[in-house]
Amino acid sequence: MTLNRRNFLGAGAAVAASLSAPMVLGAGKPRVVVIGGGAGGATAARYIAKGSKGAIDVTLVEPSRTYYTCFFSNLYIGGFRELSSIAHSYGKLASDYGINVVHDWAIGIDRDAKTVSLAGGAKLPYDRLVLSPGIDFVDGAVPGWDVSSQNKMPHAYKAGSQTELLKAQVEAMPEGGTFAMVAPPNPFRCPPGPYERVSMIAHVLKEKNPTAKIIVADPKPKFSKMGLFQEGWANHYDGMIDWIGQDFGGDVVEVNADEMTVSIDGEVTKVDACNVIPAMKAGKICEMASITEGNWAPVIGHTMQSRIDENIHVLGDACAQGDMPKSGFSANSQAKVAAMAIRGALTGSKVFPAKFSNTCWSLIDTDDGVKVGATYEATDEKIAKVDGFISQTGESGDLRKQTFEESVGWYAGITSDMFG
């Protein structure tokens, strides 16, 4: 089909009159391609398909057949979830919502021709493109580490085999051994993630290897939910965790994966397991589409459209939007605003003012859950915070347990919102 919606409209009434109505509709059916099947992409694909009831052709490009959510992958490391419980397939998006799910890599975007090239050779035309590729790592961010080191020093910041590897390495640590984490600089995916992970690893070590030590080298002077985590670490894992922030040289780090050493502010430590979480940038496809400024793709908050190309919407971790944290919840929230805007643009459905929200739950130890959240609105300049809350230190055990149970409910909610 070479007649796309734009040149169909440009071709004028003569062409339209010569075709029967159904064919005209078929030829003019707008096409949306979504790249990335995570919290942003899967949600956007589902909401566009669901809302338009077949009036928009939706193609979802995602290399993996099984998607492991990053959220709750720390709970797998801590032994609170099975890996299979965070695995999801795209079957319902195809069967229940008519989405064309293509398991392939997007390797190029021609913004003038409005096509996406796939590694398998196909070219997908689009009227609107949604990019939700997540994150990639900044080359050379942690001296001594690159992706070839990821088996010895996993990042485990894309869930799946990396998460399994990190868990296995922590569990194989010798008695009284040392685990190190190199935490990332801002901004990065899941601000409380590294610290929930430290808590989960401490939980495992407390049970299996109570004399082991945890060192965290952090380039930041403070981190998300810091007071809550530090209170929890003192309560549950007293003396086990040594957090070295920027003020103490946590930003001067070098690793050697072959020797299994970590140098922090010049002091070299031999470690038994090491989690390196490098600085992050938007998924590579954003760079390939030339829609990034610095490490991220800037967007207009009202619609999540790229500030560089109005036919492209960028969601989740990859975009620079303002005040929202890079989280699965945020991506899911942004996807719904984008889906509404895209449907409005392509089919004329009603468009309402954008509203966003986010809540991040973290588990510190068994039944000790905490949360932080906020609501946001779009201004011309950015997505701006409206209101927020955070769990308090010293909360009762009942409330913390309730918060954890709520997070389990949220997991069931967001994954059914993403995958149907």
């Binding site: 909401y47 919840f329 899911n332 929230s333 719904k336 509404m340 009603k350 309402f352 509203k355 929200s357 809540t359 949360k371 959240g373 906020a374 609501t375 409206v386 209101d387 927020g388 809350f389 149970e405 709520e406 997070s407 389990v408 409910g409 949220w410 997991y411 069931a412 909610g413 967001i414 059914s416 919102d417």
Partner: protein, 236 residues
């Protein structure tokens, strides 16, 4: 039809046979149970004038088989439990309240359960007051009528825009499943309009104490709350 008749017969037989002897037994501390009933009140009414709300009213529940009100839409799980013979005797109620989802898989009741036997029996002792002598309900302020927040008739009369409700609802379904299932966050599907509106205003006015919901409701205008109530109320 035959099934319905046999259930009614069974119900009559059970209530008739069992009421006399059961009423003589003290199940638990009903005054403590009255306080515990606060956990139930946001969904269930009890007492003079009690109506079905988010959950069915609980007057006369003792010895009634599960899912027997024709004018209340139960979960599939609850209808299955009725087919399987679940009756709200002390044992049936106690098992359900202890672990709602374990006892009736698929129940819409968004409640984690009361693990302590004493808590359950005190609560049942209180519920029991409204089953033994339904014609003689205490004259104290009936629990059924009390409303959490007084809203003006104008607010309650707002008819929500279902399209707007559908969009606004996308913000809710990140946590509250559109199937109505409860896995740790309450189902909010199929509620009576007024209950939904009152609950949201109670959060907005910070009379309910959940910080996420206070924040979410806090920025919703009256017509937006009405739109959400309309959307979720009609969702199947």
């Amino acid at each position: 039809m035959r099934l319905a008749i046999s259930i009614i017969t069974l119900w009559a037989a059970l209530t008739g046979a069992a009421l006399g002897e059961e009423s003589a037994e003290a199940i638990g501390d009903s005054e403590r149970g009255a306080k515990m009933f606060k956990k139930c009140k946001s969904c269930h009414q009890l007492g003079d004038g009690a109506k079905h709300k988010i959950g069915p009213h609980l007057n006369g529940i003792f010895f009634r088989p599960a899912a027997t009100f024709d004018d209340f839409k139960y979960s599939k799980g609850m209808y299955a439990a009725r087919e399987a013979g679940l009756v709200w005797d002390i044992d049936g109620l106690s098992r359900f309240i202890e672990d709602p989802r374990g006892t009736v898989p698929g129940t819409k009741m968004s409640f984690h359960g009361l693990p302590k036997e004493k808590d359950r029996f005190d609560l049942l002792a209180f519920l029991r007051i409204y089953s033994d002598n339904p014609q003689n309900i205490p004259e104290a302020a009936p629990t059924a009528i009390k409303v959490e927040v007084e809203l003006s008739p104008e607010i309650l009369a707002i008819v929500g825009d279902p399209d707007y409700g559908e969009y606004l609802a996308t913000e809710c379904t990140t946590c509250h499943q559109s199937s109505g299932d409860f896995d740790g966050i309450p189902g909010i599907v199929g509620w009576p309009n007024e209950d939904f509106v009152i609950a949201m205003h109670a959060y907005k006015l910070k009379k309910r104490d959940h910080p996420v919901m206070q924040m979410m409701a806090g920025r919703l205008a009256d017509d937006e709350i009405a739109a959400l109530a309309a959307y979720f109320g009609n969702l199947n």
